[in-house]
Amino acid sequence: MKQTRFVAALAVVGLAAAACGSKPVTTTSGASAAASGGASAGNFTACMVTDTGGIDDHSFNSAAWAGMQKAQSDGKATVSFVQSATENQYTSNISSLLSKGCKLIVTVGGLMADATTASAKVHTSQDYTIVDSGSVPPNVKGLQFNTAQGAFLGGYLAAGYSKSGKVATFGGLNIAPVTVYMDGFWEGVQYYNSKHATHVQVLGWNETTRQGSFAQSFTDQNVGKQLAAGFLSQGADIVFPVAGGTGLGALAEAQQSNGAMNAIWVDTDGFTAAPQYANVLITSVLKGISDAVTKSVEDAASGNFNATAYVGTLANGGTGLAPYHNFEGKIPASLTSELTQVKQGIISGSITIKSKAQPTG
């Protein structure tokens, strides 16, 4: 008891000492900085509603928020966000932002499409942007990403780099934003096989039967590790997880395999997003949510809002492959030059991707 009191007294003294600082006097510079920030950034308010994944989902909510913050640091807009704990809050969150007077409301995720559209129909003078869903003219701009194109390159690279002739992929859930990656990956491998008369197999997904491996989670790393271990024991030497945080478990498994398995990351550049696994990451298939959100907010801020659908492609940089980083020297030059040709082929239309999960805008 005495000891507790002593510790408590010590803590109080510590707190008091910490509170003994002097009041900062340089308020003028602070005020002017705030004022200048307010003058350029303060006029246009852009507000974002997350889906139930929350702001720290390491996936599209985080990416969209990063894009919003970029618009603020560019001085184009003042941004804020509201999180949805459950689906029941989608509608009320959007209406809270309406009454707050946000100039642009950014909603994230296809599951918010109906709530966004319903609100847009009533409030015809309000502008909206939605990530991962289509445009609804005149006032909802859809930002979608044809990641099948980027994943096609990933599949081609994996097929060319694989020594064992087996590559693997798995998804978080069997839903379009996930399977579009897996379709592209699968088609990329098939295309490599047809070009090189090889028989590289894809474990974990088949576009024609639409059957494959799914973790049923975007967060459970153990499931990702188990799936990757299963693929490893079946002889796969490259894994492409399309499952957000679950995929980190697959990277851990790859790292423990001592070079028997490498990985391709998804959505963002894994070299910076998960640097602890940089030594097993051949590349990443990118989805340019942040840039698209930033552009959409800045366009709206400068009075150029439009409801034209945006579809991120290889051509406009909305998807693609990340740099090879540690694998720069390991990938044969012939393979990288083929990849450049394949990319041009997809852009020019001479290579067509058949996946039905591709967004059309």
């Binding site: 509170a19 804020s80 509201v82 459950t86 809270s96 069997n174 934003p177």
Partner: protein, 416 residues
């Protein structure tokens, strides 16, 4: 998010016999109305501290507290007052809308009622089973079952207006009832512990729903690759009470009716008497000639029925964000929130209505608090969780406020 705070309700790992008993102790703690009220006050104080701590600007001012204490206190006061003002504006009434449209004027209070409606059903469901000595944590599964039945009838059948919505509501109630009765049957005739069974059946329902939403017949072909069912027919949706501009639907009326029915059932009917007798002492009830197995099945069936109605409002009500169709997260954590509401409402039907309104107000206010005061939504979840902790451990509240122990009459409460 919300489920996390309520998962603490699941009793600590003990031998199976202890599970139900632990829960029973929590629910039966002699909570006077005063203690409940003080628990809310304490939680709001804790929330206020969090609001201050989460504002880095205010914390910086604490760094020079002794040279200018006023700075810190004014900033702290501003944090707390703007936070709770926003909560009030989002949940009850926003003075700025005095001359606004009915939608704006009634917006906050109708949001509260909308959020409270499923909590009323759920709270009643948990308490009904609990009064019979059964701890129903299978709300998630039962409400999903109800939602599946209601949704199927609402889009696959085409009935005359009026009749369609009625049949859809009944179908949802029936679905939840079946799923609840299954638990009762396993408990009564097969000796399975209802806590284990209901948890497992939650998974069964959740993954079955996931399967259905990708299956032909349920999946909406217009939403390629999205796990969403076909939308309900227009005449199967719950009608609005006061036209399109005011955000309330018939679900609220059904909730009030369900409250009256549950209160009558528990205190005025023979079945209710049997349920209560069973909850107090199963052995005595058996000796007194009550058919224990039958009563358990009925209690679970009725509890499931009430959860089925949560499924109905989630699917066919105005809160549904997906154009009145099923989605994988249709349960919205309500199966677990219902347990906290029942606890806070002290298992009395009208107490549950009050608790549901309080939590509904928190949920409705949270979005405005986030939007206009810039405070994280988690603060509201923490406040809710703290309320539950204090209600579950009333002794803490008594000690903080130096109330007389246990049986002190209400009126002489605070002598601090």
């Amino acid at each position: 998010m919300t489920t996390q705070s309520t998962e603490q309700e699941t009793p600590a790992p003990e031998p199976f016999g202890g599970l139900g008993q632990a829960a029973r102790n929590v629910f039966n703690a002699e909570n006077s109305l005063l203690v409940t009220f003080l628990a809310v006050v304490l939680a709001l104080v804790a929330g206020a501290i969090l609001m201050v701590v989460s504002d880095t600007e205010t914390l910086n001012r604490a760094g020079y507290f002794f040279s200018a204490p006023g700075d810190f206190f004014s900033a702290a006061w501003h944090d707390v007052s703007s936070g709770y003002t926003a909560l009030f504006k989002g949940a009850i009434f926003d003075p700025a809308t005095v001359n606004g449209t009915p939608t704006q004027f009634f917006g906050p209070i109708t949001n509260t009622l909308l959020m409270a409606t499923p909590l009323i059903f759920g709270g009643l469901a948990v308490s009904l089973a609990f009064r019979g000595g059964l701890f129903n944590i299978g709300g998630q599964g039962q409400l999903i079952a109800g939602a599946i039945f209601a949704a199927y009838v609402s889009f696959a059948w085409h009935l005359p207006p009026g009749l369609h919505v009625l049949v859809a509501v009944l179908a949802g109630a029936f679905g939840g009832m079946l799923y609840g009765a299954l638990v009762g049957w396993l408990k009564a005739w097969r000796g399975a512990h209802e806590v284990i069974v209901t948890i497992m059946l939650n998974y069964v329902a959740f993954y079955f729903l996931g399967y259905l939403l990708n299956a032909n017949g349920f999946h909406n072909p217009d939403k390629l690759g999205q796990a969403v069912s076909k939308p309900a027919d227009a005449d199967a949706r719950l009608p609005r009470l006061f036209g399109d501009s005011v955000n309330t639907d018939v679900g609220l009326v059904i909730a009030v009716a369900a409250t009256i029915a549950t209160a009558w059932l528990l205190h005025r009917s023979k079945l209710g008497f049997e349920v209560r007798a069973l909850g107090i002492n199963p052995r005595a009830a058996r000796i007194a000639g009550i058919n224990v197995g039958r009563t358990q099945v009925l209690a679970m069936a009725l509890s499931g029925l009430l959860f089925g109605l949560v499924g109905v409002t989630q699917t066919l009500g105005t809160t549904n964000p997906n154009n009145n169709s099923l989605s994988p997260n249709i349960d919205a954590g309500l199966g677990f929130d219902a347990i906290t509401v029942a606890l806070l409402g002290r298992n009395r039907p009208w107490g549950i209505v009050a608790a549901a309104l309080l939590f509904g107000a928190f949920n409705a206010g949270a979005s405005v608090m986030q939007a206009s005061a810039g405070l994280p939504v988690d603060i509201v979840n923490v406040v809710k969780a703290i309320i539950v902790i204090f209600v579950a451990a009333p002794q803490i509240v008594r000690e903080i406020f130096r109330l007389r122990t246990q049986r002190a009459p209400l009126a002489t409460g605070g002598k601090a």
